[in-house]
Amino acid sequence: MPRNFAKDHSLEHLMALAQQGEQQAYAQVFHKITPILRSFVGKKLNRIEDTEDVVQEILISIHQASHTYDSDRPFKVWMFSIARYRLNDYLRTIYGLRKKGIEINFEDESYGILSKENVTKTHEDQEYLNKIMRSLPAKQRKIVTMIKINGYSIQETALAMDMSESAVKVSAHRAYKILAQRALEIKEIEELE
């Protein structure tokens, strides 16, 4: 008979129950940790697809290492040790590829819609672009416009905006993230329609 988990919802308790064979507790563990992991990985990676891939890797690793969890110890420390290890593994692979000269251009893959060739291709595209660009704060919109539409370099943009280069980069990355999210939402709405 399934237990009443309302008594203790701590991850430590749930994982201890899971290790005793309680499938329901194991399910609760995964459902509780997935958003935490998504947020943790999302802070380090820009692309949503990459974040999801790494989160899945971490979930698999947590499952594979479930025998190493000691219920006397804090669950989150154990979980984040695995998450950090897998995330570093992933980043090492990416940087390793870059070192070998294989450039991975996140923006071009994910936000190809913003490239100079695409933006003026059709009126429809232009409208679409305007629609998602409106979701950005004014400053970020200006940065994205300067870099992706007008073709200014980061240096030139920084000079024009009276900002440091790194601040421009950070701002641009945040903007791309918002744009990707907005694009996904629009896509989902269109699919539903």
Binding site: Y26, F30, L59, I60, H63, S66, H67, T68, W78, S81
Partner: protein, 214 residues
């Protein structure tokens, strides 16, 4: 695959049975090592002056310290087999603190006998049988300990590898102290301690190759 589908798959598989507690693992390990040491020393034969040596408090303390180093480094290796091994950072330091204590004890009693001339003389004797004995003795339990640690999910493979190697070589050193009637400190440094340090460095590299959680 969607994350939700993956989660369902993992839930269906269910978690693995938890590993025994590191202290329990170390206890079994210690019992096994003692049994192995007994058999090995039985074959090799104890040193002729063993009864006399056991009457020396200095020798007894030295042996106790070596066994403690072996125990704590094994415990550390078993803890490091867990991904959250860093929760017990002090545990990695304990074997080193014990090594310092042991060095202080050894040098306080006969450190003045060690000088460049003695060390050079000891090297010239080329007593390779000592490190060979230590390595041969350490190899089977070393393989076993690495396999036990590998059953976990270590994220600190260098540390885990060196701790596992330190544990087995400590018992190797203990064996040599029980079977070899040579208390010359220069000999112990050149043909026992230095080879153990080299083996431990090798264990670190092996740790990366074998223990790295993929």
């Amino acid at each position: 695959m969607k994350t939700e589908n993956l989660i369902q798959k993992l839930i269906d598989e269910g978690p693995q049975k938890p590993m025994p507690h590191p202290i329990k693992q170390t206890t079994y390990w210690l019992l096994g090592m003692m049994f192995y040491l007994l058999i090995f020393s039985g074959f090799a034969g104890l040193r002729a002056d063993i009864t006399e040596k056991f009457l020396s408090l200095h020798f007894v303390i030295e042996l106790i310290l070596i066994v403690t180093i072996g125990i704590f480094s094994a415990l550390s290796a078993f803890c490091l087999a867990r991904p959250d091994g860093q929760q017990l950072p002090g545990l990695k330091i304990v074997p080193f603190a014990l090594i310092v204590m042991w060095l202080l004890l050894t040098f306080s009693s006969s450190g003045d006998l060690v000088n460049g001339q003695n060390l050079v003389h000891s090297i010239s004797l080329r007593q390779f049988d000592c490190p060979l004995h230590i390595a041969l003795f350490s190899l089977p339990p070393g393989i076993a300990l690495f396999l036990f640690v590998r059953m976990g999910a270590t994220t600190q493979f260098y540390w885990a590898g060196s701790m596992a190697t330190l544990s087995v070589t400590s018992f190797g050193y203990l064996l040599m102290r029980l079977i070899e009637p040579n208390d010359n400190l220069a000999h112990l440094i050149i043909w026992h301690i230095l080879p153990i340090m080299v083996i431990c460095l090798f264990g670190m590299i092996i740790g990366k190759l074998i223990l790295k959680w993929r």
